[in-house]
């Protein structure tokens, strides 16, 4: 409560940057780089200021409309702060990657910064009202970015995006109104506490009848669209493919985490027993997301759609971990499994964000060099003319494949460690996902980098110094997290323990 309102500053800073960028004309990218750079520094500062016991820290509270249960309430724990850091990194990467925006650069970078603000806001808000504002408002810049700078077939993409997100948001909204009418509170802390004692369910049932399960389904639907979970995912390949690649980096790297974050911050704490009740169908959908996501990726010809489906697959592991741990834990063994799964899920969120954003960045680089080509069969033998590009993109691809020593492995290992004892059938079937993902990624490498060099790829320019400098920290981060995951887990694990202690299934 006391002290400098650093989280408010974090959220306002990109908005201020956006205002400047709008009028900065062709210097907008510079403004955006400076803003996102400072934001990243601030986010890392937030990360270092977390309380050691895993509780929520850096709290800011101010009365807003108390009679409506609306309060300005910000704070972060290990989960929120990690997502803030991830959003800051991914936005910086995206701005870095977007150096060919000739059309209205002021508006473009302004929107990107507004989006960053939305991300920061939704990862730090602890009251439903303004969390929902940020949740919805972050969509607007994303929508414009796709709509105005997107590819040729953005029409159908927009329809799906629209139908899905609206349906999801309406479901969320209705569910939360019901909760508010029953409890008079919109505060996450307060509601989590009520839920952990069973009071929430009693209140809701007393006011509205036996609707808790339906509310849980509504909330889950809202997040399932965002993550996305099969079958709520069909907006994603189109949106990811039609958005300009730097925007796709934001969509997959940061915005997809809003859904997983929502599950962990809202759905599980408030509706634990209901989710445990429908755990089996949810696990089926999570496994389907893992397996069918990977397999659908195998059928794609467009690199962006391949990586889009791989994103579905990788976030499927998060869903798998979350739903698997939604059981009443009996004994230390089950608690250890829950802790493993939850640590794994949070690591996977971060790692997927970094890796997927990097992959779409590489697609952007391929597109820039070939006049927009991004088909899996459009290239060949690129290792010869562009060995550095091949090496760095290879590392990112193997990180996505889950190779030990790189970041992707750690989260997946902990998820499987946690899920197997809690839901062994789901864990076993999901192994198919690991296999199919590997097949997809090796096919990409084979077709893009190996084989003879086709004529139009002969003069393919390798990465220049600026690109190497920009990409090196990202690749370095993949190695660092892969080798020393404790750097992140150190701050995440106390939060995991803290969260699990407050959840009731």
């Amino acid at each position: 409560m006391s002290g400098f309102p650093v989280l408010t500053l974090l959220t306002v800073l990109p908005l201020a940057g956006a205002a400047v960028a709008l009028i900065a004309g062709k210097h907008a990218r510079g403004v955006a780089i400076i803003t996102t750079g400072v934001s990243l520094a601030l986010a890392i500062y937030v990360w270092t200021q977390l309380p050691a016991n895993g509780a929520i820290g850096l709290v800011e509270r101010a009365a807003w409309a108390p009679s409506l249960g609306i309060e300005y309430h910000l704070g972060v724990d290990g989960l929120g702060a990690l997502m803030v850091v991830l959003s800051a990194i991914v936005t910086l990467m995206s701005v870095d990657a977007a150096h060919r925006v000739h059309h209205q650069p002021g508006l473009y970078f302004g929107l990107v910064l507004v989006l960053e603000s939305g991300l920061f806001g939704s990862f730090t808000a602890l009251n439903f009202f303004h969390w929902f504002l940020f949740w919805e408002l972050s969509l607007i810049p994303a929508f414009f970015l796709i709509k105005l700078w997107g590819g040729a077939r953005r029409g159908p993409a927009a329809t799906q995006f629209f139908v899905y997100t609206m349906a999801g948001s309406v479901a969320l909204l209705v569910a939360f109104l019901a909760v508010f009418l029953s409890t008079g509170s919109m505060d996450f802390d307060r509601l989590t506490f009520l839920a952990s004692t069973g009071e929430l369910e009693r209140l809701v049932t007393a006011h509205l009848g036996p609707v808790m399960l339906w509310l849980a389904i509504g909330v889950l639907a809202g997040f399932a669209v965002k993550v996305p979970m099969i079958p709520f995912h069909t907006w994603l390949p189109a949106a990811y493919a039609e958005a300009p690649s730097p925007v796709t980096m934001l969509l997959t790297g940061a915005m997809s985490k809003m859904g997983v974050y929502g599950l962990l911050r809202i759905a599980i704490p408030l509706f634990g027993p209901q989710i445990a009740q429908i755990r089996t169908p949810l696990l089926v959908l999570a496994v389907a997301t893992v397996v069918m996501g990977a397999w659908a990726a195998a059928a794609q010809k467009d690199l962006k759609r391949v990586f889009a489906y791989l994103s579905v697959n990788h976030l499927g592991y998060c869903l798998l971990g979350i739903f698997a741990l939604a059981v009443p834990a009996v004994g230390a063994g089950a608690q250890a499994s829950q802790a493993a799964a939850l640590n794994g899920v949070i690591l996977q969120m971060f790692n997927h964000g970094i890796t997927a954003a990097a992959l779409f960045w590489f697609v952007a680089i391929l597109q820039q060099r070939t006049g927009g080509h991004r088909g899996i069969d459009d290239f060949g033998g690129l290792r010869k003319p562009a060995p550095v590009l091949a090496g760095l993109m290879g590392i990112a691809l193997f990180s996505s494949l889950g190779l030990p020593g790189l970041n992707g492995f750690v989260g997946e290992f902990l998820i499987f460690r946690g899920v197997f004892p809690l839901a062994w059938v789901s864990a076993t079937v999901s192994l198919l996902g690991l296999l199919v993902t590997a097949a997809v990624i090796l096919t990409v490498i084979q077709k893009v980098f190996n084989g003879p060099v086709p004529e139009h790829c002969v003069g393919f320019p390798d990465l220049h110094h600026g690109e190497k400098l920009a990409l090196a920290p990202v690749i370095g981060l993949m190695l660092l997290v892969g080798l020393l995951p404790q750097l992140i887990v150190d701050s995440v694990n106390p939060t995991v323990v803290n969260l699990l202690a407050h959840w009731r299934f």
Partner: protein
């Protein structure tokens, strides 16, 4: 409570290294080559000498350290101490539990370290000559060093997870090196096939690791009695029923074996290894003959207490029985295919698969020492054979078809001599050659196996086949007259010197594993071994040695009779092909296993991918389209309602935002306004409902 426990976790390593503390520094053995690899990776392609020097220098360092460690363990053993020193540390902490890594120095890791560094170094030196004219020479040494480091990491691992990490990393380097000539589509395809086939085994292995970890709470092999393959954990695993009458120990053992089978080319996951011969020959020698493919065997040896858990005296367990049958079947199956191959490296590749089957069978029936002894001797003579084959290929101007060679014993005398030693060692020629002693150890174990005698007969038959296909190959390559185009020439000393050293080991290593003085077995099992001539006099042993000798001579004689004088010309059919055309065609076409997979697994993969895609586009997409259509209808219906409601400021703001002329028209035509209108509507509705509901 959890918080207090967590605070007590220390990330400091716990060590039980005895003086002089060699084990404390054992991590340098893998670390130095990996660091060297990183440095080489950053070098410019022109820095060829620096790259080779760094790679060879770092591996020499590892060799010295490995030998010091080896001597340390041997010294402990001669003083009656069973050395098992470990260093463990926490890598990740979750909840109140840990993911631990660590390394171990015991006879098993010591002997493997010595072998891998020694054979590796010889192959590194050989590569200077073999790869001299390759444009990616620097990158080759980068990958080779990375491989050596990863493999050595596997060897010293005291943690299931560290083992797996090294295991996957050797898989990666194997992938990179098979596909080293990436512009050849066949090489790129073979690399991918190798990675994916072994990954099939690896996912089961991963499942086994996760299961073991969840059950025992630790990933460490040895941890002062609290490790996952030590007594306490094993007793708990045995008490835990899994399925199909297996205990958890049995089920986990089988899962781990699936991983081992993938890496070690056991049927039915062997298909990648022959294709892996697309890589440069030093790679075939190092990775696909001596070290990486043996890692599966080493894995079974490492977790042997788990594989053996629950066995009564003289009895066996389900995992070990499976290991035995798969190994014995693979041994014969691959040897049969080797008979009908014409590519010099593919013959050796099938031979490697077959010999790995012997090792597995040896582990299954005879224990760690029996399987490991064959692993060590095989590493030397198979590396020798591959490098000899490389020398031949080099001498014959990159020709690999044995039908286009011939009479090379005169043109390449040193290569011929060393190759013959390797060949005789592989065939198990009596007394003088290491392969004889290590293979007889396996046959002896098979003879006494309590479950069935069939594996014994299979392995004896395999010995005959081995002698036969190797004689056929040597007959084609070194005897008869030259059938190629340009005349062959002997290779330079940088290639032949490593051959000579390996040839020495291919003979001398037999001395440490004779029945009279089973030094190796004693060392691995940490018990004293006096020298006793009457070791040969054990009942049945001489008869067994006689049997295997007869088989070897039968194979050699038959081979010599058919291929010794003058092998057929390239365009003529093989001698056996004329006699037995149909079986020959089956064997030549590798018994159609690849085709079978093409029809089943790979076809299913492609078909199911299309199903997934179709579901997405048609079924889920169709539902969405339907909903969208309904929404649109609703939107038209209520159009004027919200026009009057939310018209002004919001829409106008958006229009001003996108005030660029071209942009404006695009926005207006899209569905943006509808979307924003509904968004704004929901926020307004939220506030309205809140106000309404909170009124008294």
């Amino acid at each position: 409570m959890l918080m207090q426990e967590m605070a007590s976790v220390s990330f400091q390593p716990t060590t039980n290294c005895g003086p002089p503390g060699i084990c404390d520094y054992l991590w340098l053995v893998p670390a130095v080559p990996i660091i060297a690899s990183g440095v080489i990776g950053l070098l410019k392609q022109q820095k060829r000498r620096t790259a080779a020097t760094l790679a060879i220098g770092s591996l020499s360092f590892s060799l010295v350290l490995a030998l010091v460690a080896f001597v340390h363990v041997v010294a402990g053993w001669t003083h009656g101490v069973a050395v098992r020193e470990t260093v463990n540390f926490t890598w990740i902490q979750f909840g109140a539990s840990n993911v631990d890594l660590g390394w171990v120095l015991d006879p098993l890791s010591a002997v493997m370290l010595a072998m891998v560094t020694l054979v590796g170094l010889l192959i590194f030196i050989y590569s200077i000559g073999y790869m001299a004219h390759d444009e990616n020479y620097t990158r080759f040494f980068c990958f080779l060093s990375l491989f050596a480091g990863a493999m050595l990491g596997v060897v010293i691992a005291n943690s299931m997870l560290l083992f797996f990490m090294g295991w996957e990393l050797v898989g990666l380097t194997s992938y990179l090196l098979i596909g080293f000539w990436y512009q050849k589509p066949a090489a790129a395809a073979a690399a991918k096939k190798a990675f994916l086939t072994t990954r099939v085994g690896d996912v089961f292995f991963l499942l086994g690791i996760v299961w073991l970890f969840a059950q025992t709470g630790t990933l460490l092999f040895y941890n002062n009695g609290a490790g996952s393959i030590e007594h306490g954990a094993l007793a708990a695993l045995l008490a835990q029923p899994a399925a199909l009458g297996l205990s958890a120990a049995g089920a986990i053992g089988l899962l781990i074996f699936a991983g081992a089978a993938g890496k070690s080319g056991q049927f039915p996951l062997h298909v990648w290894l022959p294709d892996a011969m697309e890589g440069p020959t030093p790679v075939s020698a190092l990775i696909h003959a001596a070290t990486m493919v043996a890692a599966g065997v080493y894995l079974i040896a490492r977790v042997y207490p788990l594989m053996q858990a629950g066995a009564l005296a003289g009895g066996t367990t389900t995992p070990l029985t499976v290991v035995t049958w798969v190994g014995a079947f693979t041994a014969v199956f691959a040897a049969l295919i080797a008979v009908a191959q014409n590519d010099i490296k593919r013959i050796l590749a099938y031979s490697t698969i077959s010999q790995l089957g012997y090792m597995m069978a040896g582990l299954g029936m005879g224990g760690v020492a029996v399987g490991m002894f064959h692993l060590i001797t095989h590493a030397f003579f198979k590396a020798l054979l591959f490098m000899g084959a490389g020398s031949v290929i080099h001498g014959c101007h990159e020709e690999q078809d044995v039908r286009r060679m011939g009479g090379l014993r005169a043109d390449m005398p040193l290569t011929f001599l060393t190759y013959a030693i390797g060949m005789l060692a592989l065939c198990g020629f009596p007394l003088l050659f290491s392969g004889f002693w290590s293979k007889d150890g396996i046959l002896e174990a098979a003879q006494h196996w309590s479950v069935a005698k069939t594996p014994f007969y299979m392995l004896v038959f395999g010995a005959l086949l081995t002698a036969f296909y190797m004689t056929r190959q040597v007959g084609y390559v070194f005897f008869g007259t030259w059938r190629g185009k340009k005349p062959a020439r002997e290779s330079p000393a940088v290639i032949t010197a490593p051959l000579t050293i390996l040839a020495f080991f291919a003979m001398a290593l037999g001395l440490i594993g004779t029945p009279a003085w089973p030094w190796f077995r004693g060392f691995i099992e940490s018990r004293a071994v006096p020298f006793e001539w009457h070791g040969f006099m054990e009942p049945g042993l001489l008869a067994l040695m006689g049997t295997s000798t007869v088989m070897v001579f039968l194979g050699l004689g038959l081979g010599w009779r058919l291929y010794g004088g003058q092998a057929p010309k390239p365009e003529q059919p093989d001698v056996l092909e004329k006699a037995l055309p149909l079986p020959w065609a089956w064997l030549r076409d590798r018994l159609y296993i690849d085709e079978l997979y093409g029809f089943t697994v790979i076809a299913f993969y492609g078909w199911w991918a299309r199903v997934a895609d179709w579901l997405d586009r048609r079924v889920w997409g169709g539902v969405v389209a339907g909903v969208a259509w309904a929404f649109r209808g609703w939107a038209h219906f209520s159009r004027f309602l919200d026009m009057n409601w939310v018209d002004g400021s919001f829409d106008k703001g958006c229009e001003e935002l996108a005030s660029g002329g071209g942009l404006l028209s695009r926005v207006q035509n899209g569905r943006v306004q509808t979307y924003l209108r509904i968004l704004a509507f929901s926020v307004v509705a939220l506030v309205a409902i809140l106000i309404w509901s909170s009124l008294p």
